[in-house]
Amino acid sequence: MSIFAATPPATASGALARLMRSDGRRISSLGSLLLMAPFFLLMGFVFVWPIVNLLAISVLEPQPTFDNYGRVLSNPVYALVLMRTLWIAVLVTGLTLLFSYPVAYAMTRAKGPTLVLITACVLLPFWSSVLVRTAAWAVLLQRNGLVNQGLQWFGLTSEPVRLLYTQGAVVVAMTHVLMPFMILPIYGALRNISPDYMRAAAVLGASRSRAFREVMLPLSLPGVLSGSILVFLTALGFFVTPALLGSPQEMMIATLVSQQIRETLDWPFAAALVGVLTLFVSLIAVIFSKAVRFDRLMGGRE
């Protein structure tokens, strides 16, 4: 009795009210839960559960060991695939950054029709199919394609060079495909820098290039980091471009996974490959989770 007496009835109904009802500014806990339930069910069953299941297979089959992972890391053929994937991802990230920063910078400086032109050039590929763009590169780089024609016209080579189905083709096409993911975050970061900073730097005696180096560049680094991480992570697991433009002798991890599943039917080993990729990517994402605003990747609009 004394316990109940110590709790005034108003408090009990208050607790109930807080659980069941909205107090105006905030939806009730129960309401929130109901609204979020479909989201959590979907992501739980169609995203988390299958991944966990796949990772489980990688360590449980054929026997519960880490042998599959041992094979990935110790077999020189597979280790080479991992290293190649890493190298291509780094290369693609570097190239996209090199190409994207000036474009993003030009976007912040441009006005009127020029801005519309640049934005259209950046966005059109972003909204057009990855397959269309990959097909375009297949056409450009084929034996009698425009690039080979150009090389011959300039006299750089007397007969067509093999361009398609090489690592070079993969790097160039992936750079092309992933550039919007670099430009948009950098543009977002640059656009949020008030022009007053540059004016202040100028008034304080900095030349334009100096002001850029000392003020603009450091302030835009978060955007550069977001873009780089995003491009790097996407490049690591990229499938379409390496599968269509790459050489079967020089596979990347995604094409190797596909081969293991579709041709060798070695599920546990493919699962281990996916496991290596997923764990590596998650690790990077966790390390940079504070610095990277993933929700800005669609153009950094606030």
Partner: protein
């Protein structure tokens, strides 16, 4: 609530009893009790974080208190959802629905109550006329000025003749002239409608001008509640004394208690005061603080009885009066608002001045002055 309800609706009384609201370890409101009479205009005044908004939100139903009860018109509404309390509310920002016309904004509460379209448009027009915006109904909110938008919000809050009108710093977004105009407008509406108003503000002048009673809050507790003159003339404690209007705080020690208590000021003189000056009941020897309003301080001649010698720090011309800022030997700063410009004409920073205070203008509190 009927369409043909009399123009002057009577307000409802509000009884708040032992209200407390805690967010984890933080206590926003503690032991808050007040009886608000029907038709009264009560202002909740306090610095930010004093809990005034939490009290208002609890009355509105946007916060559920941890303890205590709220009764409106005798009915316990402590945990009633906001939309079933039938209150009118005006928010700090105008919160007009941007996608609805002015008329539809004002008619919104009637729509929620199932009033037919022609009827609610008629009544919304009438409410707009009450706030002197007749004919503005077809405009969109963004086509109105800030003051007009807040008047629309007011019309929306009163359109269904609620018995209680809650206002959460409704004028803080307006500039000074508009604010004064709106203060009068709200006062006029209050007397016209006879509605009970609870008004939150951090602006003490606003609270004193508008309200029948003002409740001063600090750290979630009521410091003092009373009509404006009482708050100004006889603050119940040092916080209220400092929060409402300008005040000088003179630390000292109580020399003698009794019918004519006397104090020895750190700044020099010993004062004999009427018994009414004692707000608290300190015992002799205890530290006390004597307070006096700057406008009650005047300039005396050297050697005048009870005069405090100060070194002039600044003389500030302020239109109707001159503000003299001096520092006593003990380091206490003293301000005097002097109406005669001529008497301070030759005072320069660094000069000595003697400030005199009539004993009946002094109030005495126990304790040390807060910085």
């Amino acid at each position: 609530m009927k369409a043909d309800a009399p123009r002057v609706a009577s307000g409802a009384n509000i009884t708040i009893d032992g209200l407390a609201k805690r967010f984890g370890q933080v206590t926003a409101v503690d032991h808050f009790s007040v009886d608000i009479a029907a038709g009264e205009f009560l202002a909740l005044l306090g610095p930010s974080g004093s809990g005034k908004t939490t009290v208002l939100m609890s009355i509105a139903g946007f916060e559920f208190p941890t303890e205590g009860s709220i009764r409106i018109g005798g009915e316990d509404v402590t945990y009633t959802p906001a939309n079933r309390r039938n209150l009118g509310m005006v928010f700090q920002k105008y919160t007009l629905f941007p996608h609805l016309s002015v008329l539809d904004n004002v008619a919104f509460p009637l729509k929620m109550r199932g009033v037919s379209k022609p009827e609610r448009h008629k009544r919304a027009e009438a409410a707009l006329a009450t706030v002197r915006l007749a004919g503005y109904g077809s405009r969109m909110p963004n086509q109105l000025s800030g003051g007009q938008q807040q008047r629309v919000a007011l019309a929306r809050a009163i359109v269904y003749h609620p018995r209680v009108l809650l206002m959460d710093e409704p004028l803080s977004a307006l500039d000074k002239n508009l604010r004064e105009e709106m203060q009068l407008e709200i006062k006029r509406l209050h007397s016209e409608l006879g509605i009970t108003v609870v008004f939150v503000t951090h602006d003490q002048a606003e609270a004193l001008t508008m309200a029948n009673r003002v409740a001063v809050l600090k750290d979630g507790r009521i410091q003092q509640i009373g009509p404006a003159p009482e708050l100004y003339e006889r603050p119940a404690n040092l916080f209220t004394a400092g929060f409402i209007g300008e005040m000088n705080f003179l630390p000292g020690r109580l020399a003698a208690a009794g019918k004519t208590p006397s104090i020895k000021l750190d700044a020099g003189p010993e004062w004999r005061l009427p018994a009414a000056a004692l707000i608290d009941t300190p015992s002799p020897g205890q530290s006390v603080v004597a307070t006096v309003r700057p406008e009650r301080v005047s300039l005396g001649s050297e050697g005048a009885a009870g005069a405090i010698p100060v070194r002039v720090q600044d003389v500030v011309y302020a239109g109707a009066a001159v503000l003299l800022i001096g520092v006593a030997d003990c380091g206490t700063e003293l301000r005097a608002r002097l109406s005669g410009v001529s008497e301070v004409a030759d005072l320069r920073p660094g000069d000595m001045a003697h400030l005199v205070v009539p004993p009946e203008a002094v109030l005495l509190y126990a304790g040390a002055a807060a910085a």
